[in-house]
């Protein structure tokens, strides 16, 4: 059991990943022949993924890299045009920059907020009382309701004159904004929607909380630590690998944020391009304006941005992510 909390559950790459793997512990067979056998068997076992990787990831990946240097309307064969797509994107396409701006702004606001709300919900729901399964299901609901329904309910809730939110604000004599029709407020409306759906990540935090050994709390209680202190000193540090994982996934998902923006703006990215998210613009370019070459170039830039940001987050993990011990 002790070993368990030394193994952070969501710990991608460096520290954990089989540096000297568990098989090292076996240490029975050390000769060359068995080494070769291990390699062979190891590769045999991972071969399904390896083949899938080559066929469904690496090959399309290279293909799309090529497409990003072409003019390709998906109907006629692609035509090589060198760096033209990238040149246009960086120097001649204000919408590209606008969409990048919208996405980054949203990421900076929504990702931390969703993180906090998700952790809060998990802490709240990590109790053993009667009916907790019902509450967990309720909070999980928003992440399984079809997007069409989610979006329309938000159009209704955020409706400026008759919507629930502005009605509540009106009680306090505050004139609510016109939310989805005001370019300054659309982003916040979407953030609002994201927070509402934070229950999806709650499940993963709950799992993380289950991983924290009880004796740590018992020891803290004996030392007379308050609940807040316990959360601060035990729960959050122990949960940090999970938070880290959710942060990474949150950032990745934000840069691919599409459906909600598409539905709320009828696919236009309006008003005034305030919901023109990167992925939505990429979709417009590829499928509406039939410019797959440009779309591929945008997809590649997106990939590089995600890799860059993820790397930065990984670099930062030493400072705040605790892997037990």
């Amino acid at each position: 059991m002790v070993q368990i909390f030394q193994l952070p559950m969501f710990l991608p790459i460096p520290p954990l990943v089989c540096r000297h793997g568990p098989a090292g512990k076996i240490g029975v067979r050390r000769n060359m022949k068995s080494k070769f056998r291990d390699n062979l068997i190891g590769y045999l076992f991972i071969s399904p993924w390896l083949i899938g990787f080559l066929v469904f990831t690496l090959y399309p990946f290279c293909q799309s890299f090529y497409l990003s240097f072409t003019r390709y309307n998906i109907i006629q064969p692609p035509k090589f045009i060198g760096l033209a797509n990238y040149k246009m994107m960086f120097f001649d396409d204000p919408l590209f920059w606008a969409s990048l701006g919208v996405t980054i702004k949203y990421a900076l606001v929504a990702v931390p907020l969703v993180l906090v709300v998700g952790i809060g919900l998990a802490l709240l729901l990590n109790v053993n009382i009667k009916g907790i399964a019902i509450f967990r299901t309720i909070f999980y609901l928003p992440s399984i309701v079809p997007m069409v329904a989610t979006t329309s309910i938000f159009i209704w809730i955020l409706s400026p004159q008759v919507g629930l939110v502005n009605q509540i604000l009106a009680i306090f004599h505050i004139q609510g904004p016109i939310w989805l029709k005001d370019p300054h407020w659309t982003l916040w409306s979407l953030v609002f929607m994201a927070i509402w759906g934070a229950g999806g990540s709650m499940v993963i935090y709950l799992a993380g909380l289950k991983d924290i050994p009880q004796y740590l709390y018992e020891a803290a209680t004996l030392d007379g630590a308050s609940a807040i202190k316990k959360t601060q000193m035990i729960t959050l540090p122990m949960l940090s690998p999970v938070i880290f994982f959710n942060l990474v996934m949150g950032v990745i998902n934000t840069f691919q944020y599409f459906t909600q923006a598409f539905m709320i703006s009828d696919g236009t990215g309006g008003p005034s391009n305030s919901t023109l998210f990167y992925a939505l613009y990429m979709f417009q370019r590829s499928w509406k304006y039939l410019d797959m070459g440009y779309g591929s170039a945008m997809a590649w830039v997106l990939f590089i941005i995600i890799v860059a940001i993820t790397t930065v987050i990984f670099r930062s993990q030493k400072r705040w992510v605790h892997y037990g011990r």
Binding site: P22, F53, L67, F139, V145, P146, I153
Partner: protein, 288 residues
Amino acid sequence: MTSNESAIKQRQKVFLYALLIILSIPPLMPLIWMVSTSLKNDAQIYTTGGTSTSGFSLSSLWPKPFVWNNYPEALERMSFMVYLRNTLFICFVTVLGSVGSSAVVAYGFGRINFKFSSFWFALMLATMALPGQVTMIPIFSLFRSLGWYGTYLPLLVPAFFGSPFFIFLLTQFFKTLPSEFAESAKVDGASDWTIFTRLILPLSKPALATCALFAFLGAWNDFLGPLLYLSDSRKYTLAYGLQQFVGNHYMNWMQLMAASMMFIAPIVILFFFAQKTFIQGIATTGGK
């Protein structure tokens, strides 16, 4: 969780319930609204818009009269049962394929020490960061050239090559299993495959169930796959079939909501019953 006085505990409990109930309102709103809309008729939808500023009122949520007919009509209009059958078939095969293949791969990563294993593992994790849009068009061309367009194969076959997320989960899980069993089995001459199927798999039920649930939810909700690859409306899945209610200049709001209710009901029930296993499975607390 902590040992407190029982009176305080009682008060805390009441407070906790109150808090939970209040916080439950926002996530329940859409469900209430969906149910309400699914039981209305055209005319009632029209009046909810209203012309007065008093506008929003809870009473508008109460259908008058109840129109139960939307449910059977929605069932009929979108051939619900046929789509359900298609969806269940796809779910079944993808769950089997992705969990099975992921477990095999995870055993390789988690329990065998082979050359460059950490490199491949890192690479696999990195592919999770890859936006799907990058590979969408080439993969489509690939399946088309295989002649798989219009069949279920593009939705099913990739599942058999493992999913990075599941492989990751299972690898972590397999590592927590004690190695003594395996070692003694090896001494007895058992092959890795025997150890995998006879020892590891039976011990990993919670983790496997979690992956299965994730896979099921993924396949159940998949919209893009059917959009890209299915052309015959008799082969549609539920998630895609829901779009049948969204048309040009017209949307059958009531039937859409009725169908959506029937669409989410199974997963709500599934989650409700399985959430304990689900959460336990993610939390690699296995090794019972």
